[in-house]
Symmetry: C2
Subunit: 207 residues, 2 copies
């Protein structure tokens, strides 16, 4: 499946021109006249895609849209494109994770380079997010008690200590522990700790 490029620009003639160039290069293209149009379309993360975004557009600005998308949890990489770049905006956009910041006019070669990088990054980001999402989903099925036990397990406590800290018996902890391993779909403590670490559950300074 070809990559999908979401083009957001208020200039009709620019949109059609860039869309033609990108389609020629083998990409699927979706165009939007405003940031709000793209938000309304709610592009999915399901396929390799990126956003080609003008900085100065009526209504929500490019950076505004970037902020909204990040807040909504999107991992779509953004390539900014602008006629006139000012340094603070550039710095801010890149710091916020934009894939690139290009100035018009732009050569097809440069543009396609940037798009390829963006699509590649989206791929890895999606894969990574997919794994984490799956872990988080499992984690969400834990009951309160199971979650407490989970937290103590991955911090290296033994059942006896956990039982004491939770004011219950060692046998009960074993039962919860079993549930945790089952629900998280892991077969070893090592896997469980790996996952907890990747989800940022383990504080570096708590031992």
């Amino acid at each position: 499946m070809p990559g999908l490029v979401h083009v957001v620009d208020d200039d009709d003639s620019f949109r059609t021109a860039i869309a033609r160039r990108l389609k020629l290069a083998g990409y699927d293209v979706a165009t939007y006249a405003s940031a709000q149009d793209l938000l309304d379309a709610a592009p999915d993360d399901a396929r390799p895609a990126c956003i080609l975004l003008d900085v100065r557009i009526p209504g929500l600005s490019g950076p505004d849209l970037q902020t909204r998308l990040i807040a909504s949890g999107s991992t779509l990489p953004i390539i900014f494109l602008t006629g006139h770049a000012d340094t603070p905006t550039t710095v801010q956009a890149i710091k916020a994770g934009a894939e690139d910041f290009l100035t018009k006019p732009i050569s097809s070669e440069q543009l396609i380079d940037a798009i390829e990088r963006a699509l590649a990054r989206h791929d890895t980001a999606r894969a990574q997010r997919g794994r984490l999402e799956s872990f988080r989903a499992h984690l969400a099925t834990l009951t309160q008690r199971e979650r407490q036990v989970f937290d103590l397990i991955v911090r290296g406590r033994i059942n006896k200590q956990i039982a004491h800290e939770l004011g219950t018996s060692e046998r009960t902890v074993k039962a919860h522990r079993h549930q945790v391993m089952d629900k998280m779909q892991v077969h070893s403590l090592a896997e469980l700790v790996s996952i907890a670490e990747r989800l940022g559950i383990i504080d570096a300074n708590d031992r």
Copy 2:
């Protein structure tokens, strides 16, 4: 201890002027006429510090110096300062991890804001690096065999499997395992896995 600002700029009058302003603001200042001068001085990571760096200087350019410093493992945050900013350079510098990219003339307020951010980031980066360095140092004391056992332990293998994979006995694995726990100075499998995860030793797709 006040923050230390390394100022790299080939313009004598600018260096002295900026040094005066920074000292007034309560910082320690070291000045360098060229990138090479700073490399020769080999500033240490031991105290809160940052680099205020002109992009265009004779010899090694600002971005060149940035590349060298990153390659050498420095965690000193870099604030670029330039008379004329071009977009590709700005993008590249920020992507490479520069703390900020400012244009001359710069207000003291903006400058000090940037320096404060840089110093704060340096602090956390140093703390984090310190912890990792300590883990790495412990890891380096493991013998080949212990390291093999370590790798298998943190991937969730049980002693029996490790013994089989290494073609040795379970008792021997236990002995190595003991050495590993001892040398890494941890008291639980969970801690060991945490460390391995933070050092990037566990591949996400190996289970």
